[in-house]
Amino acid sequence: MSALPIQEPDTPPEDDWALVRRAQREDTSAYDELVRRYQERIYATVYHMTSNHEDANDLAQDAFIKAYRALKSFKGDSSFYTWIYRIAVNKTINFLKLRKNRVQMSLNDMDFNAEHDPDLVALISHNNPRRDLSLAELQEKLNAAMQKLSEDHRMVVVLHDIQGLTHEEIGAIMDCNIGTVRSRLFYARQQLQAYLADYLR
């Protein structure tokens, strides 16, 4: 009598492409797994672009729903990761163009680990001349400075400096060449340097 195959406890996770093929056959459990893999990165990208939790929640959900509906047309020319990012980025930029001049911040709380970050410790240290600077104030200043950038410049900063993506990945997501990514990043940092000069000396 043949025994049923026993699944090894440390089975490597199913790769994205296998999950995509199952999701294309309307297997929502496979899509659920894909959402779990990328939700944090997608949400964070949208959140740092909008500086608003409610907007980020709506846009992240809409991006995943739109991706599911368009999944049948996904041929695997790029990775699922790049593709879902591209959908979220386009959706966010369109949303921001419509929302223009109606910036309403609804910021998330800082993670408790922030208190141990050496940069933050240096900024809020009692030995610092700006000791009156609170965490909340710094967070607000950072977000306000980000909101002053154009959508394209802000997106490059979010993807590179916050999400840690490479120039090549950003170029693929934003459908532009690496030179454009570099120049946008350079210009955006210059702008931010001017807005945040008080904290950078």
Partner: protein
């Protein structure tokens, strides 16, 4: 103020502090379920009207061009009405079948249509005269075919 005591921090490192901003606890535990529930409710299905509306609201220039085209077409329609033809139909011009039809519905031998004796080219009036002049569809002849509700024996 002592310059030495100020922290040295680059803009990249300052912006990277935003990584610590986190949504409410448990948020990522609930998000996939919400998304799958919306998918199963059929949300996000292709709706061409909604797609159009969204594409126009995102591209005002496209909406402007379309609006201009529609206004232009309407202006042309107002200032350049379709060609009208003078039309007076006399009994002699009617075919025998049409004469019968005219008599049966009590239309006088001379029929003058409204609009100052003119009739639209596309009129469906069976007693109008055949169209004169060039036509895309060749010469037409108006005919009325008598029908009977009683079986013919």
């Amino acid at each position: 103020m002592d310059q030495e005591s100020k922290p040295t921090i680059t803009v990249e490192r300052l912006i990277a502090l935003k990584r610590y901003e986190q949504p409410p606890p448990g948020y990522f535990h609930l998000l996939p379920g919400r998304i799958i529930a919306r998918i199963e409710r059929g949300e996000g299905q292709c709706n061409s009207w909604k797609t159009w509306r969204l594409s126009f609201s995102a591209r005002p220039a496209l909406a402007f061009v379309l609006g201009l085209t529609v206004c232009g077409a309407l202006t042309l329609a107002v200032y350049m009405p379709p060609k009208l033809v003078d039309q007076t139909v006399t009994a002699s011009e009617l075919s025998p079948d049409n004469r019968w039809a005219a008599a049966s519905i009590g239309v006088p031998a001379t029929v003058e249509t409204s609009l100052g004796g003119a009739a639209w080219l596309g009129s469906t009036n069976p007693v109008t005269a055949p169209q004169t002049g060039d036509s895309l569809f060749g010469t037409t002849e108006a005919r009325a075919i008598p029908v009977s509700l009683f079986p013919q024996n």
